[in-house]
Symmetry: C2
Subunit: 276 residues, 2 copies
């Protein structure tokens, strides 16, 4: 039998290569290529346009660190918006909090949601929660037209920069998009975005932070250790009224990666990056 | 022209692959295969037995984080021992401190030292410092026979675990070796070792810490972010009289990665690992 290997290119000169047990799904949707691979090292893996979105083995690191800092820094998060995140990982973490009353998930691609429900039940388990409203539409259109205000907005998008094809995420980094998001956030709100590798998309992250600083008083990146994402990834926190270094609300949840101390350490690496 | 790519296997199911401009050196020494590749992404790279030992682009992270924590936690480091480290990176950081009077470097393989002098001048620049004594011999024999006592011992070895062939480092993790090292350390001494990937050699690291706990009162790993080492690597600190969380001496050095805050954050990740 031939051996199957899948490579993700980090740059044109560097790739990370996973041995594959089985290709569970491989299709072209209206917006992007969508694949679910079963890998030896990381279990099932979702790829969009050839880039690893998540793996069963380490998605908890990314999703915990996307969700819990903002929820526990916000004094009273009730209404939450997710742009992207059709796999359901962000939702799964959010539905753990009874104080959250409404979760609006806006993903452009219904096939991502369907694939997650079919192949990644532990990711998509929260999507049926009655507080969750799933909207299949373009995020940039949604934020232009939406009238409700949100306490927290999560941008859980595909990669808006190369190498390789850039999918629908490119509309999620324009100044117009960011302004529209700010307009549907409550004054006491928090914006959280996955912001790429601080190693391989270093300039992208610098520019992204500068763009956000035009809109928010405080913009701070923090770094997380995700083996299947080249080991290291960045998330950017932005707010005009809430400090990322403030006291976290008490949480009864038992999490696997997130702790207040780990969050503090993660921001230290972000501070070092900002000083460079 | 054909494209050259080099892959390092992290496990049998996972590899990291670098595009190569040129193979500068490739030989079998008496102890291991030794290669110097010029890569597009990380500049020149030294490999031993097919594993990345260092790259020009990010060796400063590893070497700063190996050397400076112990030097600045120790109240008065004068005599220092390095086992391995024939490339000279550890030495280069140590010679920055005038309080260090003697640096003994014990590497089994003279060809590593020669290759570094020839191809990696910025690594090997400290090897000519008059305080440096280079001994080409087996580390385990050296520590059995040595009579002097050291303030700090650095274990900068090749990988003592697989996948792939295990080189001369396998003698550097036996209880006998560790006992001999302890015997030539001053009571107020610090032991620092590179201790592999906390992701791909997780069990190795756990066992290594347990072995060291039989000899030292305090054993704490800390994690560093090294892109060419799968993103994440561990270093283990051990001492019977000095706390890794104590106050660091003032340093006039301007470093690129190490700061007291980053060290504290790095230990936080180690603490989280120990709790798992």
């Amino acid at each position: 039998m031939s051996e199957l290997w899948y490579s993700e290119f980090y740059t044109e000169n560097l790739k990370f290569t996973f041995r594959v047990k089985e290709v569970l799904l491989k299709k072209q949707t209206k917006f992007q290529t969508l694949e679910i691979l079963d890998t030896y090292e990381f279990g099932r893996m979702m790829l969009l346009d050839g880039k690893v979105m998540l793996t069963e083995a380490d998605e908890f690191i990314y999703h915990e660190m996307m969700v819990h800092p903002a929820v526990l820094l916000h004094p009273s998060p009730k209404r939450v918006l997710i742009i992207g995140g059709g796999d359901g990982g962000i939702v799964r973490e959010l539905v753990k909090y009874k104080e959250i009353e409404r979760i609006v998930l806006v993903d452009i691609d219904a096939e991502v949601v369907e694939a997650s429900k079919r192949f990644l039940p532990q990711l998509s388990s929260g999507l049926d929660d009655p507080r969750v409203e799933i909207r299949i539409e373009e995020g940039s259109r949604f934020v232009r037209e939406e009238k409700r205000k949100f306490d927290i907005v999560y941008i859980d998008s595909t990669d808006p920069v190369g190498p390789g094809p850039i999918g629908p995420a490119e509309t999620l980094i324009t100044p117009e998009f960011l302004k529209s998001v700010k307009a549907i956030m409550r004054e006491e709100g928090i914006y959280v975005a996955q912001s790429e590798s601080p190693v391989y998309q270093r300039e992208y992250l610098k520019n992204y932070i500068e763009k956000l600083k035009k809109l928010f008083n405080t913009v701070k990146p923090y770094f997380i250790m995700v083996p299947s994402f080249s080991g290291l990834w960045s998330i950017t926190f932005a707010s005009s009224s809430i400090s990322p270094y403030g006291k976290l609300r008490e949480s009864p949840l038992s999490l696997r990666y997130f702790t207040p101390e780990i969050l503090k350490a993660s921001f230290q690496f972000g501070e070092a990056y900002l000083r460079d």
